[in-house]
Structure formats: structure tokens, C-alpha cells
């Protein structure tokens, strides 16, 4: 007869670390992909006509108006039913990246638009080509301006990555859920998890606000 309940012990460190690593991995993947896609879509939206904007906006709107948890379940089920089973990491990465993109694209769009038309014109009047204006002027200035908002979205992605547990990805929160079932010690484990998120998120968000304040001056 195997024992069902065993307290958390040092031998679980590896298991917890796997959870931590998985949370970190999927967050990084989503932030990187979400940022790249967001950049592209944000630029497209800043530059394109009203019609394109409404179409793009509609798609992004769905991503922002349906709870992430439902998107995850729906997507992983749907793609499975379609005959392309994905493991939770891949399915989770895709949805989390798209979800991130939806928010990032707004961030970058406002960044591109924050570079004043006159400044773009100044650049053009120096003989720079359209591409040079984007590369040397709008990107660097726009990206700087939106850094705090970007960081804000990135941090919320780290937090939202906890939801990928619902499709079976063994990230930190699901790992700890498992340990809780096994040990019946929720408080200790949850506090540990909370501290982990806090020490990642707090310094970064403080830094973001610091930068924001500095830029406001």
C-alpha cells in the first residue's frame, strides 16, 4: 500500500525548481514572441488606414475580451480536435503570446504615434528615407517612450502565465498545487509561491515606475 500523503521535503526542490523554470520559460517565450508580434501589429496599426485598423482592432479585441483561461481551454481543445495535438507548453505559448501581442500592439502603436509628426517631418526633410526615419528615429524614440508600459505588460504576462496550468502545463502554481495535494500544507507552499512572484515582479515594477517618473520630468 503506497502512502498518499507525504510532507514537503528537501527532495522536492528539484520538482519545485522545474515548476519555477517552466514558469520562467513560458513567460520569456510569451514576452519575446508577444513583443515581436506586437511591434509588427502596432506598427501596422499606426501606419495603416482606418479599414485595416478596424479589422485588426476587431481581432485584437476578441483576444482582450475573452478570459485567458477560456482561450487556453478552447484553443488547446480545438487544435486537438482539428487533429494537431499540441503539448501544453506549445499550446500555452501560442495563446499566451497572442494574448500578450494584443496588449503589446497597443503599447507599441501609441509609441509609434507618440513620435510627433513634426519630428518625422524633420527627419524626412534631412533627406532620410521612410525606412531610415523608422529605423533611426521612430523606433528608438517610440520604444523609449513606451518602455514603462511595455514592462507593465511583460509583468502581467508573468503573472498570467499561472493560468497555463489549466491545460496541464506544470508551471509553478500547478506544481505547488500538486505538492499541496500530497502534503496538505497549502499555507506554507502558497506563501512560498507568492514570494517567488513578488521578488520577480516587485523590483521590475518599481524600476518601471522610476523610469516613468524620470521621463515625466
Amino acid at each position: 500500500m503506497n502512502s498518499l500523503f507525504t510532507p514537503v521535503s528537501w527532495s522536492d526542490t528539484g520538482f519545485i525548481l522545474t515548476g519555477v523554470m517552466n514558469t520562467v520559460t513560458i513567460s520569456i517565450v510569451a514576452i519575446v514572441l508577444g513583443t515581436l508580434l506586437g511591434l509588427a501589429v502596432g506598427f501596422l496599426r499606426a501606419e495603416s488606414s482606418k479599414v485595416v485598423n478596424i479589422l485588426l482592432g476587431g481581432v485584437l479585441d476578441i483576444l482582450r475580451s475573452v478570459p485567458l483561461i477560456i482561450q487556453l481551454i478552447l484553443f488547446s481543445t480545438f487544435i486537438g480536435v482539428m487533429g494537431y495535438p499540441l503539448d501544453p507548453f506549445v499550446a500555452g505559448s501560442i495563446i499566451l503570446s497572442l494574448y500578450t501581442m494584443a496588449f503589446m500592439s497597443e503599447v507599441f502603436r501609441s509609441g509609434f504615434e507618440s513620435v510627433h509628426q513634426s519630428m518625422r517631418t524633420s527627419a524626412r526633410s534631412l533627406g532620410m528615407s521612410y525606412a531610415q526615419t523608422i529605423f533611426y528615429i521612430r523606433l528608438p524614440i517610440g520604444l523609449r517612450a513606451v518602455f514603462p508600459s511595455w514592462l507593465g505588460v511583460a509583468l502581467s504576462v508573468i503573472k498570467d502565465s499561472a493560468l497555463v496550468s489549466v491545460i496541464g502545463y506544470m508551471e509553478l502554481l500547478r506544481t505547488s498545487d500538486q505538492l499541496i495535494s500530497r502534503s496538505q500544507q497549502p499555507l506554507e507552499i502558497l506563501i512560498g509561491v507568492g514570494i517567488f512572484y513578488f521578488i520577480i515582479s516587485y523590483p521590475l515594477s518599481s524600476y518601471g515606475r522610476y523610469v516613468e517618473r524620470k521621463m515625466a520630468i
Partner: protein, 221 residues
């Protein structure tokens, strides 16, 4: 594709889904209202610089902003449970949402307040208004406009995040969907309908909020 959609089972269960949607809506409304009340207190505490209150407010805000909502909900449910404090799933989700809303709204309120140029205060003062009058007629009405939009967003966020009720067996829209689909194994159909319902709810909220703002706020700032 090796899957036939069976929609009739979903429609049979529509009343239950709608009931879930109703729970979703009222847990978010309650979380918003109570969150606002607490956030006002926290924002005042933060701006007053009186040490102990400011410290409590800051701690609240930072924890709320820097840990996942899912964590807050587990904490309210099982974390507090370990201490012998038993919240029902509804109350656990509600209190987690209140906690987070209050944390985020505190910063919204503070920012909104600080965004009113101090010259508005001087100008009002120079007309002989008392401080209370300045707040009542000049500062607060302008502040309300500025925080209205972020507040609407926070409300939408609450609606979406209440879907985490699924994880503590709460009977809101997601929880209900989860239960119904596991009885018939019609996962896709049920969750698609739930997604559409969430979409409609958030759009309705945004739409009525913009109607209301047009009624409330005449001039632009």
C-alpha cells in the same frame, strides 16, 4: 476533423449558463464597488504620508500588483482555510478581486489626483472658494473624468478574472461551463458559447460605460 458539433445540449443548458453569467456579473460589480471604497481610503493614506497608514497602503498595493490573481484566489481559499478561516468559493473569489481592484485603483486614484494641475487649485482659491468647495466643484469632477476610463478597464478586467472561479468550483460562468461540459463531454461547444458570452458582457459593459460617460461628462479635458 474528427468531431461533430452537438449544439442542442448547450441550448438545453442555456438557463444555467445565463445564471452563471449573472453570477459573474454581480461578483465583478461587488468587487468593483468595494474595491473603489477601499482604494479611496488607501489612496488617501498614501498621499497623507502618515507613516503607519502609508506603510499599510503601500504593502497592500505592492502585493496586489505583484502577485498573480490566481495566487490571490488560492490564498483566499486554501491559504486562509489552513488558518481556519473558511470562505465559500464565491467569497474567496470576491475578496481576491476586491483585494486586487483596491490595489490597482489606489494608484489610479492617486495618479488622477496628481494629474490635476495645481494651478486649478490656486485659480479656484483666488476666487475665494474654501478648500472643500475647491474639491467639491473643481478637483473631484475633473479627477472623475480622468479616472473613469481606467476604472472601466479595471471593471472589465474584474469580469475576465472572475473566470478564475473555475479553479475553486465557483458557480460563475466559467465554473458552470466547466461543470456542464464534463457531464456531456461537449468541451468545445460549451466553452465557445462561454467565450461569446464573455465577449458580449464586456462589450456591453464598455458600451454602457461610454454612454454613461457621454451623459456625465460634457466638456473635454
Amino acid at each position: 476533423m474528427d468531431y461533430e458539433f452537438h449544439w442542442n445540449v448547450v441550448f438545453q443548458n442555456m438557463p444555467e449558463l445565463l445564471n452563471g453569467a449573472f453570477v459573474t456579473l454581480h461578483v465583478s460589480v461587488l468587487a468593483m464597488l468595494l474595491g473603489i471604497v477601499i482604494a479611496i481610503l488607501l489612496a488617501i493614506a498614501k498621499m497623507n504620508n502618515s507613516k503607519p497608514y502609508c506603510y499599510i497602503a503601500t504593502t497592500w498595493v505592492e502585493i496586489a500588483r505583484n502577485t498573480p490573481a490566481l495566487f490571490q484566489i488560492y490564498m483566499a481559499y486554501f491559504g486562509l482555510g489552513a488558518l481556519g478561516i473558511h470562505l465559500s468559493p464565491y467569497v474567496a473569489v470576491l475578496s481576491a478581486l476586491i483585494f486586487i481592484n483596491a490595489g490597482y485603483l489606489t494608484e489610479t486614484f492617486r495618479g488622477g489626483f496628481q494629474s490635476i494641475p495645481s494651478t486649478q487649485y490656486s485659480a479656484s482659491k483666488s476666487l475665494g472658494m474654501t478648500s472643500i468647495q475647491v474639491y467639491r466643484y473643481i478637483i473631484l469632477p475633473q479627477m472623475l473624468r480622468r479616472i473613469y476610463h481606467p476604472m472601466t478597464n479595471q471593471f472589465v478586467w474584474s469580469i475576465l478574472m472572475s473566470s478564475l472561479g473555475i479553479l475553486v468550483g465557483m458557480g460563475e460562468l466559467s465554473g458552470t461551463t466547466q461543470r456542464l461540459q464534463s457531464l456531456s463531454f461537449r468541451t468545445l461547444e460549451f466553452f465557445m458559447v462561454a467565450a461569446v458570452m464573455y465577449f458580449i458582457i464586456t462589450k456591453l459593459v464598455l458600451f454602457s460605460s461610454s454612454l454613461l460617460s457621454r451623459k456625465l461628462f460634457k466638456g473635454e479635458i
